[in-house]
């Protein structure tokens, strides 16, 4: 089973990297970019086929390691 965990910065947390990318896009002349926030994507392959079990494992992975919940939110998706 394939899954994706997306980790993003919480609203209100300053993201200097996102700001720098935003500036670079503007200097490249890419129009209409209002703001950029940088995050991380983890593509994970799971051994089992039980969806509930997979979701629990991914949540544990995100809580224990993939995200720092002081500053980051995460989203878990099962891609089948």
């Amino acid at each position: 089973m394939k899954a994706r965990v997306t980790v993003t910065l919480k609203t209100g947390i300053l993201d200097p990297q996102g700001k720098a990318i935003e500036g670079a896009l503007k200097s490249l002349g890419v129009d209409g970019v209002a703001s950029v926030r940088q995050g991380k994507v983890f593509d994970i392959e799971l051994a089992g086929t039980d969806k509930a079990q997979a979701e629990a494992a991914l949540k544990a992975a995100a809580d224990k390691l993939l995200a720092n919940t002081v500053i980051e939110n995460y989203r878990v998706e099962l891609l089948g």
């Binding site: 947390i13 200097p16 990297q17 500053i71």
Partner: protein, 233 residues
């Protein structure tokens, strides 16, 4: 003072730390590999040194914070044992939950490697008793992620409970935007946990302990720890 220095893959300041501790405490520190599950018997001080553990993969300190040895450090801290984290060590202590908050990218995105001034906020702690309250010391920093952040409630508690021990300041002790090198909340350079026995700081006091280094302002921190433990013994 019996000290134990944790060693993770990618750490590079452990020898500087060992040299400073050997010189000031008169005891050879134990080097403890990250896969160990216990600390040497009678350890007074655990030091988490600086460097780039696991190449700063995922987040600075994130992977080291989950190493087996960290459970032993948690036990040591829960019993009141002293823990000092410097630079990457500070990041590891935050990631492990021993200290609140997180170290973000420096606000101007640059790796900063230079001497900075720190104001010692109080002298009545094991980590600052070698200094006077309000004293300004000069020590080096070398980090890309030293921008301390925490939620408002945590910052209020850190400030209100006197848990900020070191702040970035100017040469004459003024704290403000100009001397706040990395954008840290309230110019925070070093904080302690609630019970005051775990310190995390970005600057490197171990690199200003001998005349040949051009400055010995960092000695006070280690000398203070030795004095604290001598008195407790």
């Amino acid at each position: 003072m019996k000290s134990a220095i944790l060693v993770f893959p990618g750490i590079n300041r452990e020898r500087d730390m060992a040299r400073a501790l050997r010189m000031i405490s008169g005891h050879e520190p134990a080097m403890v590999w990250h896969a160990e599950t216990s600390l040497p018997k009678g350890t007074d001080l655990v030091v988490v040194p600086g460097g780039f553990s696991y190449g700063d993969y995922l987040r600075c300190g994130a992977i080291a914070a989950r190493a087996p040895v960290m459970d032993a450090v948690r036990d040591h801290a829960a019993k009141g044992g002293l823990v000092l984290g410097v630079c990457n060590g500070f990041q590891i202590l935050c990631e492990s939950g021993l200290l609140p908050g997180v170290l973000m990218r420096n606000d101007r995105l640059k790796f900063i490697c230079k001497d900075v001034h720190l104001r010692v906020e109080r002298s009545d702690t094991p980590f600052t008793r070698g200094y006077n309250a309000g004293q300004v010391i000069r020590v080096p920093v070398a980090h890309g992620e030293g921008n301390y952040a925490a939620d408002e409630e945590t910052l209020k508690r850190l400030n209100g409970d006197g848990r900020v021990l070191y702040r970035y300041c100017s040469a004459d002790g003024e704290v403000g935007d100009l001397s706040n090198i990395n954008g840290a909340a309230h110019s925070i350079a070093g904080i302690v946990n609630e019970s005051g026995n775990v310190l995390g700081m970005m600057p490197h006091p171990e690199n200003h302990v001998e005349d040949i280094m051009g400055c010995t302002d960092g000695r006070g921190l280690f000398a203070g720890l030795v004095a604290h433990l001598d008195r407790a013994a």
